[in-house]
C-alpha cells in the first residue's frame, strides 16, 4: 500500500519535473507581453522601463486600432453565429442516424480543423475574388464561420448524446408536438450547453485568426490580429503589446466560460 503510494508520488514528481520547463517555455512568451504593454517607453522592449499605462491609452486613442478591434468582435460574433447554427443543426441531423457516407459527411464538417489554413485561405480568396467579395468583413466572417463550425459540431454532438433521451422526442410527438416544437422543447435544452461551450471555443479561434483574415482583408476590413501582424513589420509600438494583452485576457475569459459550460453539460446528464 505505502510502497505503491510512494511510487505514485515519485511518478508524479518526475512528471512535474519534466512538464514544468515545457509549460514554462510555452507560457512565458505569452506572459512576457503583459509587462511589455505596461512599459513607459515609446518602443516595444523587454525588460520594460517603468510601469505605465500609456501604451493602452495610445491603443485606445488610435482610430485605426479601435476600428480593427470593433471589426474583430463583429467578425467573430457573426462567425460564431454561423458556426452555432451549422454545427448545432448538423449534430441534430446526424444523431442516431446511420447511412452510407455518414463518415464522409462528418469528415467534411471536421475538415477545416485538419486542412492547412493557408490552403483554406487561398481557396477562399480565389472563390470570393470570383464573386467580387474580397475586402468585405462579412467574407472574413463567413470564412471564420467555416473554421469554427467543427468546434461547435463536436461539443454539440457530445452534449446531445449525453443529455438527450430519444424517448423524449417520441413522447413530445405523441403529445402533438410539430417538428419545430420538438426542436425547441426537446433538442434545444439538450444541445444548449454544448452549443454554448463550442461557441466560446469558436469565438477564440476566430478572434485571433490571422491567415484567413490577411488573405481576405480590404482597406476597411483589417481585423485586430492582422493590424497587429502588420504593425510588427513597420512600427514596433507598445500598442502591439497592449492588443496582445487583450487577446490573452479574452482567451482566459473564453476558456473560463467554456469550462463553466462544460461543467453544466456534465451536471445535466
Amino acid at each position: 500500500m505505502s510502497a505503491s503510494g510512494s511510487l505514485r508520488f515519485s511518478g508524479n514528481t518526475l512528471l512535474l519535473i519534466a512538464a514544468a520547463p515545457i509549460l514554462l517555455f510555452l507560457l512565458l512568451p505569452s506572459l512576457i507581453i503583459v509587462p511589455m504593454a505596461l512599459s513607459k517607453s515609446q518602443m516595444i522592449q523587454f525588460p520594460p522601463e517603468w510601469i505605465s499605462l500609456h501604451s493602452f491609452a495610445d491603443y485606445l486613442g488610435d482610430q485605426q486600432w479601435v476600428e480593427s478591434t470593433l471589426l474583430s468582435f463583429k467578425v467573430s460574433i457573426v462567425a460564431v453565429f454561423i458556426a452555432a447554427v451549422t454545427g448545432g443543426t448538423a449534430a441534430i441531423a446526424l444523431l442516431g442516424r446511420n447511412f452510407a457516407g455518414k463518415g464522409l459527411l462528418v469528415g467534411l464538417i471536421m475538415m477545416p480543423i485538419v486542412t492547412p489554413v493557408v490552403i483554406l485561405a487561398l481557396g477562399d480568396y480565389l472563390l470570393f475574388a470570383q464573386l467580387h467579395l474580397v475586402g468585405s468583413w462579412i467574407t472574413i466572417a463567413i470564412a471564420h464561420g467555416v473554421l469554427a463550425t467543427p468546434y461547435v459540431f463536436i461539443s454539440a454532438q457530445t452534449s446531445l448524446t449525453s443529455n438527450l433521451n430519444p424517448a423524449l422526442v417520441r413522447s413530445a410527438r405523441s403529445l402533438g408536438a410539430q417538428p419545430s416544437s420538438v426542436l425547441y422543447h426537446v433538442y434545444w435544452p439538450a444541445i444548449r450547453p454544448g452549443v454554448l461551450a463550442g461557441s466560446m471555443l469558436g469565438f477564440a479561434v476566430s478572434f485571433d485568426e490571422v491567415v484567413l483574415a490577411l488573405f481576405l482583408q480590404g482597406a476597411n476590413s483589417v481585423t485586430l490580429p492582422v493590424r497587429t501582424f502588420t504593425a510588427i513589420q513597420f512600427e514596433l509600438t507598445p500598442k502591439i503589446a497592449a492588443s496582445a494583452s487583450l487577446f490573452i485576457a479574452l482567451a482566459l475569459v473564453a476558456l473560463a466560460l467554456q469550462a463553466l459550460a462544460a461543467r453544466k453539460t456534465g451536471q445535466l446528464s
Binding site: R170, A172, S174, L175, H185
Partner: protein, 358 residues
C-alpha cells in the same frame, strides 16, 4: 398489419386485433416477437409496410404521431427533465393550442385526480418512481386521447414497486374508462392487468383471449410454456368421448383432454401433445379411474404448495400440491397415481409439439 425492414423478412406478420372501448388489451411476448413494433405502428412511430389502423372507422395509418390522438407512456416515462410537473402535464394541451388559462385548469384538475395536487411545481427528478408514473399517465390522459398506449412502462422497476404501479394503472383505467393497449414480456403482469391478452411470437398473434382462457386453454406449446409452467405429454388421438378427446399415452394408458383451442379437427391415430398445468394435476396415493401409476422422484416444500417431480407415463411430470400436509405426505420413492380432469387438459396445435413452433 404487416411490417418489414426490407430484405423480405417481416417482423410483424398479419397482426390484426380490435381494441374495444374501455378495454385493457395486452400484447404479450418475448423480445423480438414484434409486440413493441406493433405498438409503435399504432402510435405512428413506425410505418406499416401494409395494413390499416382504424380509429372509429377512420384509417390513421398515414398520419404522423403528432396527428393521431393517442396518449403514449414510455419505459422510463420520458418526462421532460427541464419542465416541472405542471408544464409536463400541460404540454399536450399546449401543443394542441388550448389557451393557457384553460390548459392550466385542466392540468391541475388532472393532477388532482391522480393524487399529485401539491406537486405541480416539482421537477421530475424530485419525484419517486411511482409519482413519475402518475405524472406520465396524467400527461397522456389530460388531452382525452382515443386510447392509452403503454410500452413496457414497468419492466425496469423492482418487483415490489412494480406490483403497486400495476394496481395504480389498473385503477386509473377503471376510473377513467379508458381503452389501454399495453405491451409487456412479463406474463404475470399481463395476467393481472388485462381484460384480454394477445400472445405474440415471431411477429404473429398466436392466441388472443381472456387471461384465464389463454392460460388454461393454450393453443400451442409456445403459449402453454410462455405463460408459466406446464406438463407436455405426447400421445395419439383415439376419438372423442362426451365432447373431449380421448388420447392414448405410452403403455396404452388413456386419458381425456379438451379438443384444440383453434378448432382444428383431429384424425384418429394422429400424434398430439396434451398440456396440463402442474397445479391442475391430481395426485392420489391409491389407484382410481383414469389415473396413471407413477413414482415420486423428488418433492420440494415451497410454502404455499409442495412441488412434486413424478415419473409417470414414461416421462417426468411436475405436480403442485396444496392440500397435503408436508409432514405426512409421501415423498421420494413412494408410489402414487396422477391424473387430471378432462377440462384441465388441453390438446395443443403444432405439428410435433416442439416448443420452438409457435
Amino acid at each position: 398489419m404487416w411490417k418489414s425492414y426490407g430484405q423480405g423478412a417481416y417482423v410483424v406478420r398479419d397482426v390484426s386485433f380490435a381494441l374495444r372501448r374501455g378495454e385493457f388489451l395486452t400484447l404479450l411476448g418475448p423480445s423480438g416477437s414484434g409486440k413493441t413494433t406493433t405498438l409503435m405502428m399504432v402510435a405512428g412511430f413506425e410505418k406499416p409496410t401494409r395494413g390499416e389502423i382504424l380509429v372509429d372507422g377512420h384509417d390513421v395509418a398515414s398520419r404522423p404521431p403528432e396527428r393521431r390522438n393517442f396518449g403514449v407512456v414510455f419505459q422510463g416515462y420520458a418526462l421532460f427533465p427541464q419542465k416541472n410537473v405542471l408544464e409536463n402535464v400541460e404540454f399536450g394541451l399546449r401543443m394542441k393550442g388550448v389557451p393557457s388559462a384553460a390548459r392550466r385548469r385542466r392540468a391541475l384538475d388532472m393532477l388532482d385526480k391522480v393524487g399529485l395536487a401539491g406537486f405541480a411545481a416539482r421537477k421530475p427528478r424530485e419525484l419517486s418512481g411511482g409519482q413519475q408514473q402518475r405524472v406520465a399517465l396524467a400527461r397522456a390522459l389530460v388531452f382525452e386521447p382515443d386510447a392509452l398506449l403503454l410500452d413496457e412502462p414497468l419492466s425496469a422497476l423492482d418487483r415490489k414497486l412494480r406490483e403497486s404501479l400495476q394496481n395504480e394503472i389498473k385503477d386509473l383505467q377503471k376510473r377513467f374508462g379508458i381503452s389501454i393497449l399495453f405491451v409487456t414480456h412479463d406474463q404475470d403482469e399481463a395476467m393481472m392487468m388485462s381484460d384480454r391478452v394477445a400472445v405474440m411470437a415471431e411477429g404473429r398473434i398466436t392466441q388472443i383471449g381472456s387471461p384465464s382462457d389463454v392460460y388454461l386453454h393454450p393453443a400451442t406449446p409456445f403459449v402453454a410454456s410462455f405463460l408459466g409452467e406446464t406438463n407436455l405429454v405426447p400421445g395419439a388421438y383415439r376419438g372423442t368421448d362426451e365432447g373431449y378427446a380421448v388420447v392414448e399415452f405410452k403403455d396404452a394408458a388413456r386419458g381425456r383432454a379438451r379438443l384444440p383451442a383453434d378448432g382444428r379437427t383431429l384424425t384418429a391415430g394422429e400424434a398430439v401433445v396434451v398440456s396440463v398445468r402442474p397445479e391442475r394435476m391430481r395426485l392420489l396415493i391409491q389407484q382410481a379411474e383414469r389415473k396413471f401409476a407413477g413414482v415420486v422422484s423428488d418433492c420440494t416444500f415451497m410454502g404455499r404448495h409442495t412441488r412434486y417431480r413424478i415419473q409417470a407415463l414414461g416421462q417426468p411430470l411436475t405436480v403442485s400440491v396444496t392440500e397435503w400436509s408436508p409432514a405426512s405426505a409421501p415423498c421420494a420413492g413412494a408410489p402414487v397415481w396422477v391424473g387430471w380432469e378432462a377440462e384441465d387438459a388441453q390438446i395443443l396445435s403444432g405439428p410435433d409439439g416442439s416448443l420452438a413452433t409457435p
